[in-house]
Every structure is written in structure tokens, then in C-alpha cells.
């Protein structure tokens, strides 16, 4: 009779999994259905390469926002990846296990702080600091990158630590037994063996940075304008949707969904590139 029980469990798990996938699928379809008509109307090329965004006059070009998204995400990675990786290496290789057992959950807790709090800290502390020391309005790509760089740290640190600790002890011992120093062992053997996990952590961090909206709205300035330097304000694709959805109607509303479509495509492309980079070697 155990058999029927197994079958029931298996079938219900299957149903639940199917409905979860189905919902995701529906959402994707919905976004495309709402967004693509406008893209066809203004032309895909025009939509992504023009930087004239005057929705009330029927001009929909999101080039500056694509740039804003890429700049801020790249900045977040430039800040977050080296910091997060060094931290993960230090914690997993140089700190006694007992202390790690306390520190790691603490770091993971940081991932639970709502983004509006990060944004608020950025607005109150970081933005004035940039304005007074580096010039410009303060609300800028730099501010957005720093805040996002900090926000993706817990993801990168925690997943990289797991990957580094999953490297078998025998690799380290084999390397040390051949006269490698601890650091040589880490960068030539441990990081190599943990590479796919580390790349996964970076992809997840990148996903978080691209998708983050609230904190960016609060510190990045949101100007629809091609950014010329990291001290310029910028609007990202996500913040564009959040800022205008309250009053958008008709074509304008569709243009916001179209923005979502482009975001979707960008994330897909970045994921494919990242996956390819992992598998290549």
C-alpha cells in the first residue's frame, strides 16, 4: 500500500511544480502581450536606440535607461564582486570554523534588510558625501552603484563561501604537499575548483542588481538623459517602470511593459553569457 502513497505524493508534487512553472510562464506571456504591440508600433530599433522619452507626446526611446541600467549594474559588480569574493575567501580560509559559524548567518541577515532602508541610508549619508566631495548633484550612477554593490554582498559572500567550502580537503592537501603555500593553493586550486559556484554567486548578485528598484530610485537621480560620467544622475529600466506606472495609460502604459520586455531580454542575454563562461572550461 506504500506504493499508492508514493504515487499520490509524486503526482501532487508534479502538479504543484507544473502550476508554479505555468504561473511564471503566464506572467512572461502577459508582459510580452502588453509590451510588444508598442515595440512594433515605434519599431524595435527606434525603441532601444532613441533616447527621446516623451511619453505624453508619443515619443518612446529607452536608450538612456538601458545605458543607466548597464552602468549601474556594472558599477555594482565592480564594487561588489572583489569585496564579496575577498570576504568569502578570508572567511572560509583564514577564520576558524567556530567564528565562521557566527559570522556567516550574520552576513546572510543583511540580505533580509528591505531595499528601502539601503536606499534611505544612501540618500541620507552617501549622496551628500558624493555631492560635497566629488561634485555633481550627488544623486548619481556612483551612488547607485555603491548602494547596489553593498546590497549584493550577502549573496556573493554566502554562495561563494558554500562553493569554497565544498572543495574537497584532499585538493588542498595535495597542493600543500607539493610545496605550495596557502595562498598559492587558494588561488590555483581552491578558486579553480569552486569556480562554477563563484560564478553562480556573481550571476545571482547581478540579477539582484539589475532588478533592484527602490534603492535606485532613491539615490540615482532618475534623470532621462544619457549619462556622461559616473557623477551624472541616471534612470534605469526598472525605475522607469516604477516611477511612471502610477499615471501611465494607453501607449504610455504599453511602453512601460515594453521596457519590461527589454529588461527581460537583457537579463536573459547576461545569464546566457554567464552560463557560457562557466561551462567553457
Amino acid at each position: 500500500m506504500k506504493n499508492t502513497k508514493e504515487v499520490v505524493i509524486e503526482k501532487s508534487l508534479f502538479l504543484i511544480a507544473l502550476s508554479a512553472i505555468f504561473m511564471l510562464f503566464l506572467i512572461a506571456i502577459f508582459i510580452f502581450k502588453e509590451g510588444t504591440p508598442l515595440i512594433f508600433k515605434v519599431g524595435f530599433k527606434n525603441f532601444v536606440t532613441s533616447s527621446k522619452w516623451f511619453p505624453l507626446e508619443g515619443q518612446f526611446g529607452i536608450f538612456s535607461m538601458i545605458l543607466g541600467t548597464l552602468w549601474i549594474t556594472a558599477g555594482a559588480l565592480i564594487i561588489g564582486v572583489p569585496l564579496g569574493l575577498s570576504c568569502a575567501i578570508f572567511l572560509s580560509e583564514f577564520v576558524p570554523r567556530r567564528i565562521m559559524a557566527i559570522l556567516k548567518p550574520t552576513i546572510e541577515l543583511l540580505a533580509g534588510i528591505p531595499s528601502v532602508v539601503y536606499g534611505f541610508i544612501g540618500m541620507v549619508v552617501l549622496v551628500p558625501l558624493i555631492r560635497e566631495n566629488l561634485g555633481g548633484p550627488g544623486l548619481s550612477i556612483l551612488a547607485g552603484s555603491i548602494i547596489l554593490g553593498i546590497m549584493i554582498l550577502p549573496t556573493i559572500i554566502s554562495i561563494s563561501i558554500d562553493a569554497i567550502q565544498a572543495v574537497p580537503r584532499s585538493y588542498r592537501e595535495g597542493s600543500l604537499a607539493m610545496g605550495a603555500t596557502k595562498w598559492q593553493t587558494i588561488h590555483m586550486v581552491v578558486l579553480k575548483a569552486a569556480r562554477s559556484g563563484i560564478v553562480a554567486s556573481i550571476i545571482l548578485g547581478m540579477g539582484r542588481a539589475i532588478g533592484e528598484t527602490m534603492a535606485v530610485i532613491m539615490v540615482a537621480g532618475n534623470a532621462v538623459k544619457i549619462p556622461r560620467s559616473i557623477l551624472d544622475p541616471a534612470r534605469t529600466l526598472t525605475t522607469n517602470i516604477a516611477l511612471e506606472m502610477g499615471f501611465a495609460a494607453g501607449d504610455h502604459r504599453q511602453a512601460l511593459f515594453a521596457t519590461g520586455v527589454v529588461l527581460f531580454i537583457i537579463i536573459m542575454i547576461l545569464n546566457i553569457i554567464a552560463n557560457y563562461a562557466v561551462r567553457k572550461r
Partner: protein, 263 residues
């Protein structure tokens, strides 16, 4: 004066390359090696035998200071290598270049066959391509692996069979031109043919190196060992020429273990 003293030391230790004196090792509160005294001779193979948990691996890992990695480890006594205490004033990294180790499970590093072998020499500062190629060829030949892999040196080492991986690990250790080779049950997972190949390699290698092999297989100790040491529960019960250990051991416990009457 100092030069004279050093020469004297070396002469004194010519036939006595490693000497272990009153070695005690603890992991936390656990007394794992108890007052070990043993002299080990170059150009000979020392086989270390004993039941599981008797401290054979721990003993081996003292000789290249791999036990240092465990923060719980404490020890007393000394290990002299050419008359110098390896736990005093010697950099463990330098020591491990002179004392190669082969583990029970072959563990090639996650890279190609070629890279596995040049890993150690490169760390030691050798960058000349020609020299590295020469090292790879010589160590693979010495480990009886060259013919099987010479056409695919750039394949990942993980693709080799278990027996080939173990010989790769031997080649990798040889590439460092060590003085001493430590082997921890190098044949435990291997078939008789691979085992025979490794034993043949050992017989050749002992002309140039001192070899210490830990084995769970007493027959293997009898086959390859010039000397045999018997460990039991952290104690060195006796060590002697292999012939003597296997025909007329001094200790009843050695005889029981060798004849399989141990319980």
C-alpha cells in the same frame, strides 16, 4: 667552526637520513602516537604496517608536517632530517618540496595531466618551457605512465583511470625531485596489475629516493619493503629488516598481526 660542525652532522647522518626521537602526537586530548623512536635509511623502502587507526597515516603526515594543518594537533619529541629538526627553523613549504607525498585516494588537481605535473616545479620557480617538458617526460616515465598518456597530456587528469591517476600522483611527486617519498596506501583502490606497476616503479625509485610506504596489505610490505615497521594503537611495536619481521618477529603481537590471527 660552524662549517665543520655541519659536515660532521652530515657524516653522522649519512645512513640515517630521518631519525624520529620520542615522538608523541595528540589530536586534542587523544594521544595518537606514543613515544615513537625510529631511524629511516636512504635508498631503502620502509613499509609501515598495522591495523586501522593505529596511527600510520598520522606518522607519515608528521614527516612532511601536513598534520600542522589541524589546529588541534600537538606534539612532543623531534624529527631530524639530515640532522636538522624539521619542526624548528625549517619552512614547511620548503620541507614539503623535499618530501613528496602520495595519498590513499589519488587526487589529481582539477587541471590537465601536464599542469598537474608542472604544478610543483612552477611553484618552485621553474618557468623554462623546455625544462618543464623534460620534467614532465622524465617523471611520467619514472612513474611508468608515459606510454599511456604521452599523446594526451592536455586532457583533464580526472579522465584517467584510478590506477593511472595514482601513477600520475607519483609522477607529480617525482617532478619536485624530492629526497623522500611518502606513500599512504597507494594501492588500496587498485587492481593487481596497476599495483604491480606501482611496486615496480617503487623498486626503481628507491635507487634515488628514500621511500616510506604505509600499507594495509602485509603481503605488499613483504614484497617491497626492505624494512618493516609495525604500529599498533599508536605504538611502534617493532621495526626491523622485512625478512626478520616476517620470519622471526620479536613481539608476539607482530606475529599475530602478520599471520592474520589478530582479534
Amino acid at each position: 667552526m660552524e662549517v665543520v660542525a655541519e659536515l660532521a652532522l652530515q657524516n653522522n647522518s649519512m645512513n640515517n637520513k630521518i631519525s624520529v626521537k620520542n615522538l608523541n602526537v595528540f589530536f586534542g586530548d587523544k594521544h595518537v602516537l606514543k613515544n615513537i623512536n625510529l631511524d629511516i635509511t636512504p635508498n631503502k623502502i620502509l613499509a609501515v604496517i598495522g591495523p586501522a587507526g593505529s596511527g600510520k597515516t598520522t606518522f607519515l603526515r608528521c614527516l612532511n608536517r601536513l598534520n600542522d594543518l589541524d589546529p588541534e594537533m600537538k606534539f612532543t619529541g623531534e624529527i631530524l632530517f639530515d640532522g636538522k629538526n624539521i619542526y624548528q627553523g625549517i619552512n614547511p613549504v620548503e620541507l614539503r618540496r623535499r618530501v613528496g607525498m602520495i595519498f590513499a585516494l589519488p587526487i589529481p588537481l582539477p587541471m590537465s595531466i601536464f599542469e598537474n605535473i608542472v604544478y610543483g616545479p612552477k611553484l618552485a620557480g621553474i618557468t623554462n618551457k623546455k625544462e618543464l617538458n623534460g620534467i614532465v617526460e622524465k617523471s611520467l616515465k619514472d612513474a611508468f605512465l608515459w606510454d599511456e598518456v604521452k599523446d594526451r597530456l592536455n586532457d583533464p587528469a580526472m579522465k584517467l583511470s584510478g590506477g593511472q591517476q595514482q601513477r600520475l600522483c607519483i609522477a607529480r611527486a617525482l617532478a619536485l625531485k624530492p629526497d623522500i617519498i611518502l606513500m599512504d596506501e597507494p594501492c588500496s583502490g587498485l587492481d593487481p596489475i596497476s599495483t604491480a606497476k606501482i611496486e615496480e616503479a617503487m623498486r626503481q625509485l628507491k635507487k634515488e629516493y628514500m621511500i616510506i610506504i604505509v600499507t594495509n596489505n602485509t603481503k605488499q610490505a613483504a614484497r617491497v619493503g626492505d624494512y618493516t615497521a609495525f604500529f599498533l594503537m599508536g605504538e611502534l611495536i617493532e621495526s626491523n629488516e622485512t625478512g626478520k619481521i616476517f620470519t622471526s618477529p620479536n613481539d608476539k603481537r607482530t606475529e599475530d598481526y602478520i599471520s592474520g590471527r589478530f582479534g
